[in-house]
Symmetry: C3
Subunit: 604 residues, 3 copies
């Protein structure tokens, strides 16, 4: 296991650099990361490149025997570019133009002008440093996403001309003809039909407000694929000059619709970094472990190295209430993450910046550059477990993570109406993977052991390779995904399914006739109980629509007050299925019901 | 009493239609309703009309002996129209252009291009089906309103050029000269005067935020009259081809400023439909009865047939928390509504749609098209009371409903500041007729008997025809309205008045000198106690300004702690007046004070 | 002490004027104030001036021996000006154009066309009435601020072309060259550098949302200076015609970022009026006294006469819940304000307006013009203390009020996330000077005695002239300010300092090395405890980073549970310093800890 830290030379006077790199080495780090957003330093004016800063910094790293994860720098546009081409600024669904400076990203990745300049910058950097002995890996882009990253409003981005054009092209490529698109988007509703692809626009209605849910799903998928396509193009550009060093990028978890689908985003990345600020996002040990398992699974899925790109090294300062970091916190975090397979942990950052929008934040050292109890803790942890590497703990269960179901659920449950104080309160109550109570509930069956998350495309392609598979929020499932779940059971797997199993297909269309019901008829759940709020305690009588559906072959594990089955178990093929007629996983999370938890554990 | 249900053939494969209509008939329905928003099916491209769907559907209805309430289809614009004429999209007060697709309505009814195309469609439909034997009634438009209908923001619509032009013309027609307009709008305040009608614009400040309240009142009235005018034009178009079948439309109750004034909207309609989703809007039996009485009164006022255009037949799915529907609910609703005079109830809808923004919602049948306990309940209720018709219960009291006072109160009490979580929380707490605590309080004196609501224009024209008249929120009253109230009492009526009686005239101007005070001086209420929050329990001492106003001829029914009169009774002419110096009706609602309720009942 | 009241002749029929002025005189007032926003009356059409209203009103005042504070009238633009030049409307950060009429101000003071017309109006008024015997003082503008004044949204204004141009010019003038600007604005962060002044724009990101805090600080300062510059220009225009009468304007306290810096705004004003509505803003006696001391201090700082420009005379009506006013309230307010040095109190207003956006609000008289218990109370208070004037109470302590720290703190603590229901709830909880819990806590050490507030520019220029100086929220301090604080102590002053002393410089840059630590090393506070939420009760163990910082010369007054110093006292020069390692002043406010309060009092 390797340890590193971010240090941005451009933010500090040159006279301090040597001291800084020496201190980094002395604490025990092997890696430094910088230049993700350094465009303005490398190309201060159009076409005038200045590599002196990077040259000096990399040479100093070499001198101190530090390796570098070098950003290619185009993750924030310089002011001269925006001044010359203001059309690269993102546009919100209500027509608002994104501010020129301030919140990231201040450009739309779909814009061809941005792409041209960003690729030229990438090429210059790659060409110059591909053979520099300090280079360890490349980082392209940084936390790639459409706005808002830091904005606190609910607007939907980006609706600029470039994105619109890209969306229409994407839709044309996916559906080939307008009839297929109309069918998939369910436009035979309220006169929503399109006659041709020219009539299509980006869906400006946003996630809520009564828009078409099928278009929104595709809009979300389109955005993930666009970002992924851009990353692939950046990687290809580096590969012109360098076939040796790994290329990757960072991302993080956040409100579902703000962050791209990681399974798609990390395609073709050699490494994939997780940015995590545990006290800022109020993570419990369990939720931290959950996301670590999630990230490792993403990386295993796409063959990336699992890296923590940014780990909070000191207190937050802005953006909400400051959240402190204790030395013990850091040790605990490293242990949890290490046990779950990260090969590298990069702390953010060496010293609190003296200016800018992170002024005073996140520093491992104190404001004056002196060591802190936290930096001393990092010394110790590096010595202790630095070399111990990945440790398996217990047997792994599988958890299916349906991003499409998450998006659909989030859209249906709403936000503005459901979470009064906006995403901040929601984040506190619901955990970092917003809206996914059921996912967190499933993880309760696993923790403190490890889980393997299984993703949408993955389940399309293969039968899950685990003994127990937990289906949390299995609301939208394609036919192929469902076939693989059936195979999993027939081949001997134990399936624990939440209600709402394959109520809809992958497009968000309701499945009228068979759905999952053809398979084991009791798995069909009426719409009456789709809300996570309805649980054992409240649902004293059977939900309507079950009378004809009860499978007399199944064993009844739990009943409602009126005797109707609540949890049922059935052997199918070589395996078995345990399913609930209520929101089992959400209930495990929300009720903190130890008896129920232990009971379900005892059956798997 | 007749029963029907919505079924939208365009949303289902043709192979299902026959089964669907057969099932509808078999359950016991006589009526089907469809095509309110079917424009894209009938005119898939500009000028190319395709009636095959409607032909087939209507012929099938005929075959199954079902009658049809046929929508003329222009309540949502097709994409080709918006693509060609994007100027038909509504514009918000902050300049936002309405999304092309998604939330209704995606057009501004004031736009002449929209009107031209919509009228042509209406004409085609009317010409083709006027003599079709399946036709029962026509529905023009659907839930006509300016945006937002489904949007959850607080923006004000529409501020497009067409609406602006219409508003200026409306103002010119109403006030004739700019001096009269300045006087009515109270522009001699903070340099608000207009020199000519060209200086006028739509009031972009919205309902709150310190705008001119008199302009807002007129803006609201203008919008109601515009919508009504459009409905009249649509009806006239149908009448070119059909003098036989009734023509009407649907509406619903909602946040006051979002929904047009129903008294105006239903003018010249032959039928007027009430769309109601009782569990979605958390109606109690009492509040459902209240709105049913309200709707019947609206219909009686304008000579329309009272129809329930949409009655929730199954659980909601999107837009907030799903709300379930029990079979018992349905029976109860039909009974309550039937007792209050509806001639026809149309359920929404046969089956949960498989796609679109209502995916999985409201179905009487299950997702797979099978019957449910709800559909079985509908069978029973149709058999039981289907033929029994309208039943009078008890003697009717009159409740004056001042829409202008409601708008004014809503504006003053505020929203963003008063109801933290937006309209959703407000809806829960305050009931469906938002802001009208006092109206709901008055209804407590009536329920379970029936009330006759009396409306603004109606009170302008006639003396109320009831024995007891409750004045809930009588804040804004015109001189004519006030004269008719006085006549009502003199002729022997019993008047129970809330405080704030005619504090302002119909323009929202404060009445300085006489107000209602000339009549019975104690009816004048000082501004000190205009808030609904001040009640008997809190107001232990008399409000200031009353010392000189006490009418020594009046009997004192209730006192404050310091002996000052709180409820007073006085014989005037052949009748009597009971009035309170606090917010009597709001108190009846908010305090749930049975003693107070029984006491007031005992005096009337 | 003089008393007056507002009465706006334009809002009332001419037949009432004589009665109104007679009543004003009879109640005991000497002063009337009107015409702040009377532009449309004086110049009803472009270039056509009509002085008849002002002539008559001023002559009537003369007749009744009333003196007038005459507004020059340009504080709201007439509709003909906006119609002709819509570009004078303010523009929000998201591009929204301000509504033409309604909320104030409906123009941007930076616009040259507005300025030209407003200056011409001012000149006309000044020329005509400079020698009128009724004139007492001039009021230029009214509550000058960029929007929003009355809007309830969080948008940032103004981003029109005129303001942008002014901001660039201001920045150019302040920094001379782009390198200095880049350094001050800390743009070497996320590629934020500017190559030249042409690349600069107004910061459209607003106060929150991850923008650059240094630019925001300058943006706030720029806006204060712009407004001040406009006031100076208006005053100069009057001085062309009148060297005798005082010239001033009104302002008020509000959400920090909405209201300009009063120290800057009141520069060169002869009088500076405080507009205060105590029940509307839920002031306690203590908070009212605090702002009164604050206002007197502002006035003393800039040599203005301290006037209450508007004191609430009756209940509010709109804009939130109505807030009543008792006769006893008025007497108490006048006493508190009088004891704190106001020379003049103007009530707002004589009668509740009959129309407009303040319909029914604030009247001293009743709706019908009759007297109220409030007007009788005013009679009495004028008689009682009208002649008694300013009374010193006790010895004054000094409180340093750092507007820059307030802005920075407000930005960091956030709003949308921190105060769920927006500014209204925040206002209730945090007091009128939003975000300044620590300021209110400091005032607890003073009240019921008086405080002298000391302001940013003032502390730049001079050593505080008081015995005890309370440093509330001393987060951002310039070197000069810090030097003057040191001198204050060395010369014998007693300093009580909150934590975070000079953590940042006046630009908002973190001070890395010395900060305040060079002086007395224990004054340096680690970033770990910068939050106001961390206090004695919660912080049971010493904050990290203190181990090496404890000053062994200092006396320890209070300890944490683990023995680490919490409050320390040290003699320096002829004076002494008492400081805390936690948020002392916020704690005094939030904990209502009498023991702590008495303890701190006993040491000063």
């Amino acid at each position: 296991m390797r340890f590193g830290i971010t240090f941005y030379p451009d933010q500090w006077s040159e006279s301090y650099w040597n001291e800084a790199f020496a201190k980094i080495k002395e604490i025990g780090f092997d890696l430094v990361r910088f230049n993700e957003m350094g465009w303005a330093q490398t190309e201060p004016q159009e076409g005038k490149f200045d590599f002196s800063l990077l040259d000096k910094a990399l040479n100093l790293c070499k001198k101190h025997k530090l390796k570098v994860i070098l950003g290619t720098g185009a993750a924030q546009a310089p002011q001269w570019l925006i001044k010359k081409y203001p059309e690269i600024l993102p546009v919100a669904n209500d027509g608002q133009i994104h501010p020129e400076y301030g919140p990231r990203p201040n450009f739309c990745r779909d814009n061809k002008i941005y792409q041209k300049y960003a690729l030229r910058l990438t090429e210059k950097i790659a060409a110059r440093y591909a053979k520099h002995p300090a280079i360890d890996m490349w980082q392209i882009d940084n936390e790639p996403a459409y706005p808002p990253l830091d904005l606190s409003d609910n607007k939907d981005w980006c609706h600029c001309e470039a994105t619109k054009k890209a969306f229409v092209a994407w839709a044309k490529n996916k559906y080939k003809n307008i009839k297929a698109l109309n069918e998939a988007w369910g436009t035979e509703f309220w006169s929503g039909n399109f006659n041709n692809f020219e009539e299509i626009s980006t869906p400006k209605v946003g996630m809520w407000n009564g828009g078409n849910p099928h278009i929104y799903l595709d809009w979300y998928r389109f955005k993930s694929e666009q970002l992924s396509g851009w990353l692939k193009l950046l990687k290809k550009t580096i590969r012109k000059y360098d076939n040796k060093h790994k290329v990757g990028t960072n991302s993080f978890t956040n409100i579902p619709n703000r962050i791209p689908d990681h399974e798609i985003l990390s395609e073709e990345m050699d490494w994939f970094g997780w940015d995590i600020y545990p006290t800022a996002t109020q993570n419990t040990d369990e939720s931290l472990a959950q996301i670590a398992d999630y990230w490792r699974s993403i990386c295993e899925r796409n063959g990336c190295e699992f890296i923590v790109g940014e780990l909070q090294a000191g207190p937050t300062v802005r953006w909400g209430d400051p959240a402190l970091v204790n030395p013990e916190d850091i040790k605990k975090w490293v242990k949890i993450i290490g046990e779950r397979g990260a090969t590298t942990i990069i702390f953010h950052n060496l010293r609190p910046p003296l200016y800018g929008c992170e002024t005073g934040g996140y520093g491992l050292l104190d404001n004056d550059g002196k060591e802190t109890e936290r930096s001393r803790a990092v010394r110790e942890i590096i010595k202790e477990i630095g070399k111990s590497g990945d440790q398996q703990i217990g047997e792994r269960m599988g958890i299916f993570y349906s991003k499409s179901s998450e998006i659909e659920t989030f859209q249906e449950e709403g936000w503005q109406r459901g979470a009064p104080n906006g995403w901040y309160s929601g984040r506190g109550e619901l955990g970092l993977l917003f809206g996914l109570n059921s996912l967190a509930g499933a993880y309760k069956l696993v923790y403190p052991n490890r889980a393997d998350f299984i993703f949408e495309k993955q389940l399309e392609e293969e039968v899950p390779n685990c003994k127990v598979l937990l289906l949390a929020n299995p609301y939208l499932l394609s036919e192929k995904q469902f076939e693989n779940i059936k195979k999993f059971v027939n081949q001997g797997g134990i399936l624990v399914s939440d209600s709402r199993l394959r109520l809809k297909d992958e497009r968000g269309h309701l499945l009228p006739y068979p759905g999952a019901k053809d398979w084991v008829k009791f798995l069909y759940i009426a719409t009456e109980i789709i809300t996570a709020k309805v649980g054992l305690a409240k649902l004293r009588a059977k939900p309507e629509g079950f009378r004809d559906l009860v499978d007399t072959d199944a064993g009844i594990l739990a009943k409602y007050n009126d005797g109707f089955p609540a949890i049922i178990e059935k052997n199918i093929g070589k395996g078995k299925v345990i399913y609930s007629t209520f929101s089992l996983f959400s209930s495990l999370r929300n009720w903190e019901n130890k008896n129920l938890l232990e009971f379900v554990k005892s059956r798997i």
